[in-house]
Amino acid sequence: MSLLIDENTHVDPAAQLGGDHRIPDQSRAARTRSFDVDAFGLPTGREEEWRFTPVDRLGHVLSDTATDDDGDDHAAEFTVEAPEQFVAGTLAPGQAPRGTVLVPEDRGAAVASANTPEALHLRIPADVEHPDPVRVRVHGRGAGRRSNAHYVLEAERHSKALVILDHTGSADHTGNLEVVVGDGAQLTVVSLQRWEDDALHLGQHEALVGRDATYKHIVVTLGGGIVRVNSNVRYAGPGGDATLLGVYFADAGQHLEHRSFVDHNAPRCTSLVTYKGALQGESARTVWVGDVLIRKEAEGIETYELNRNLVLTDGARADSVPNLEIETGEIAGAGHASSTGRFDDEQLFYLMSRGITEDEARRLVVRGFFADVVAKIGVPEVVDTVMAAIDEELALTAEVAPA
């Protein structure tokens, strides 16, 4: 085995602060999981899983209340673009496969589950390779309006599909995504957060990756006041491959939080987690917490997780915490890297000294920063969305004081 822990680039801000550093006192696997909302108290911000989140700004989003629909005036509009045979109807709580993969891990996921009587059920039939993206559009219809959602996505064995979940508008939204990737299936799921600035969004995306299946989960978070997406993976058999990618760009006042948990519970599986984010503006805030657990039975697995943050201006803060728990040494490799850096003025000077204007030079550097994760996305329309968003964000950079 090789155990590559990249100490040089590992910056744990909590560790540097000294007093605030809490070593989780239990294994990640031991965290409470329940469908019962009351199993989770309202967070105070002192809990391990809430310590970075501005819980005082979460408004209604954690309250155990139904979706704020008023007749035909829905809190959120859902539009599904999929071939008819993929739409399998709806699932009540406890109606399998709903609940077989996703058990809520925090209060946000529990209220979403409890308040979604009918979960959308999408099923890609076995052996079907569908070339076009399947889309679920979620459009919030008013800041502060409670909206709950739960989607169950099944990719049956040897199917191949791309599913894009696209969030726009504004709402206090909780949304769970439960994914079953059948044996040998290849499924890509994209979750775009393009909310208005006053939206709140909590979500738990939980996937079970089948034997020799390939699962790619891509989070792109650009909008929203507070967005917190927890993306979890575990395996149903050996040979599964999971890639979790994230791209985020936080502006003034935004809190964008991404957590992932890869539970290596089967032999000879692989996982790659790559999240990259940029921040600009006063009190722009991002959080990445990447948990990986390699259980005793997970022999021969290989995992690597990486998070990098680029701070473009003063007043922004990025937290980055990788956690690796290893219960067996019989693995192919495990490593992590995490770092947060400021925009490098020497890069700017170098490019400008070749005649490149400051705006263009900044664009090159920031696009370059995201280049490797963008290259892994492999979905052209998502790449275009990300690149256009970076350019739009940088048009704003010109208006705020550089770091």
């Binding site: 003025d345 000077f349 170098y350 000294s353 005649g355 490149i356 696009r367 370059g368």
Partner: protein, 251 residues
């Protein structure tokens, strides 16, 4: 015919006005001329290069830099390059995620004010890279990322060949190069000179590179100013005597 005139240039570190690094530099470089600037470490040679290029770390406290009469000090960093100045850096900076080919094309477009014609550009780039004995795969690597010392310097000269500046400042381009790489890089400089009539300010600590690039003038740089100017023979004398003569008498 282009002339770069440096008149009584005084430069300090930006956040420390008290420490003057350049203390009245006078130097005039015209097209086709090669001026070797030689001096010991800490004499201010690199500061001169960076100040002309406009690095924000340095503040010009007095004096002038004129390119064909135009006030260079009034120009932004990018405008200086667009006006025809080029600085080959001693420590080129890594730019992750930006390929050499993307960087070069962006720079060429910026300097020329229009995108180069694709077919000519590809040919020019291939030709220049071949002449510098660079592997074609180099174009797809990220700018300076993981480059060896020699690769970084070749890459600087490659940029000079393609951007075709009027005046180039080569800041210790010879440092850290083995003899073979030094020859390749020197040939590159000579080739651009012959082709475009480039004026060169060749900053170096050692006389070694002067075997391959013939200087028209040699200036000894001591304590932030030119202590003595001469021809090729001055370099030969430095080779034998070192800088001691200037260091004891020059302060």
């Amino acid at each position: 015919m282009t002339t770069l005139e440096i008149r009584d240039l005084h430069v300090s570190v930006a956040d420390d006005d008290a420490t003057e690094i350049l203390r009245g530099v006078d130097l005039t470089i015209s097209s086709g001329e090669t001026h070797a600037i030689m001096g010991p470490n800490g004499s201010g040679k690199s500061t001169l290069a960076y100040a002309i290029a406009g690095h924000p770390k340095y503040t010009v406290t007095s004096g002038q830099v004129l390119l064909d009469g135009e006030d260079v000090l009034e120009m932004g960093v990018d405008e200086r390059a667009q006006a025809g100045l080029f600085l080959a850096m001693q420590y080129p900076v890594e730019v992750p995620g930006v390929t050499v080919s993307n960087f070069l094309r962006t720079a060429k477009t910026a300097v020329d004010g229009e995108a180069p014609k694709l077919r000519h550009w590809v040919k020019d780039m291939k030709g220049a890279m071949e002449a510098l004995r660079m592997d074609p795969a180099f174009a797809e690597r990220n700018v300076n990322e993981g480059f060896s010392g020699g690769e970084k310097k070749r890459h600087e000269i490659l940029q000079m060949e393609l951007l075709q500046p009027k005046i180039a400042i080569l800041d210790e381009t010879d440092s850290g190069l083995d003899v073979d790489a030094l020859k390749v890089v020197s040939e590159g400089v000579n080739r651009v000179k012959d082709a475009t009539g480039l004026g060169v300010m060749l900053i170096t600590h050692y006389t070694r590179i002067l075997r391959y690039i013939q200087p028209d003038y040699v200036h000894v740089f001591i304590n932030g100013r030119v202590a003595e100017s001469g021809g090729r023979d001055l370099a030969d004398r430095l080779e034998e005597e070192g800088y001691d003569r200037f260091l004891t008498a020059g302060v």
